[in-house]
Subunit: 204 residues, 2 copies
């Protein structure tokens, strides 16, 4: 859709705003803006309100920095969770993915990103000192790194490991290996090599 043909600047502005969202191109943005235009006023108000409220009123859990409506999030305040294990994740995205696996019963610590000098993100921009403080306060036996296996993720894990060294806490990281359900012939060499090095006892 050529920009010069928008019949209204208000429409063009709305298209521009929708197109700023990730994965939304100009054609989709135009379709979404027209949908708003053609739906009833209540929808536009509910929609705009949900976006504003989300940004302005959502809280961060004072313990794990997960987003929450309450001072202490549902996970941190759940007495059935094992508070001696803390899983370190980049964002609430990964936290929710791990929660959906139902394979982890400990608590979390949301960093809010990974160390990335290219993007100007240093350790001071992340929730690292709050993690170190949590561990120093005691009660935590193990810290699990569930970070992306990228340079940035590895750097961040290394940095945190150094910062936690004096506490003597047990450090671990999610296993790297062949994905469940994958054909072995399509696994990349690095992953395959790692999965052989880290082989585990076979259980019948």
């Amino acid at each position: 859709m050529k920009d010069s043909t928008y019949p209204s600047l208000l429409l063009e502005n709305a298209v521009n705003q929708f197109a700023r969202l990730p994965g939304i191109g100009r054609k989709t943005a135009f379709r979404l803006a027209l949908y708003v235009l053609e739906s009833d006023r209540q929808f536009a108000e509910d929609f705009a309100n949900a976006v504003l409220t989300l940004k302005n009123e959502v809280k961060r859990c004072r313990c794990c920095k997960n987003i929450s409506d309450t001072d202490l999030c549902q996970i941190c305040s759940n007495p059935k969770r094992d508070s001696s294990i803390v899983c370190v994740v980049e964002s609430v995205r990964e936290l929710m993915l791990i929660e959906n696996t139902a394979s982890f019963n400990g608590l979390y610590h949301v960093l809010g990103g990974v160390i990335s000098p290219m993007d100007g993100i240093g350790p001071g921009d992340l929730e690292i000192s709050s993690l170190v403080q949590r561990v120093e306060e005691g009660g935590i036996k193990e810290v699990v790194f569930a970070l992306s296996t990228t340079t940035e993720g590895n750097t961040t894990a290394y940095y945190i490991a150094r910062k936690l060294a004096h506490t003597g806490v047990l450090l671990s990281a999610v296993a790297q290996g062949v994905a469940v359900g994958d054909e072995l012939q399509y696994a990349d060499e690095l992953t395959l090599g790692r999965s052989i090095e880290n082989r585990v006892p076979y259980r019948l």
Copy 2:
């Protein structure tokens, strides 16, 4: 993403609102809501504002009912356009598609939909009487139907043709370059442009 796992009702509400948009599933809606959460406050405000302003302040051209920021739209107020030919379209979507073909130099009339008893849309819900009035006022030699070649589109063209019969205006329809049964909004520009150039007399 299972709904029970959202760590915040505000987040869940925002996901629900995004998921109401056409073509946006719950996974994408979650990604968009998180993007809003992670971007700066100005973005959320600009975005919500654009949506609200679009819905509340956009005008309809008093002549052709196209959306417009002004009382008379850019097309109707352009002296270089041929005001003796009026192209009847369902919505601003089709109008913009035709404008992008650069194959049509006349004016438009935006119906705001097509007759569709299944959806409870009758002739009275559409801008048909305003079209008849425009033609009756004189100066219009030809009315071109650029409606979807669906039952609803055909019914609408037929209804309007009957309503315009007494004026003696020349009726035409986009050529059947558009595949029968296709929605007009999905036609490619070349086919759409060709179909307007080759428009044929409309037969009752």
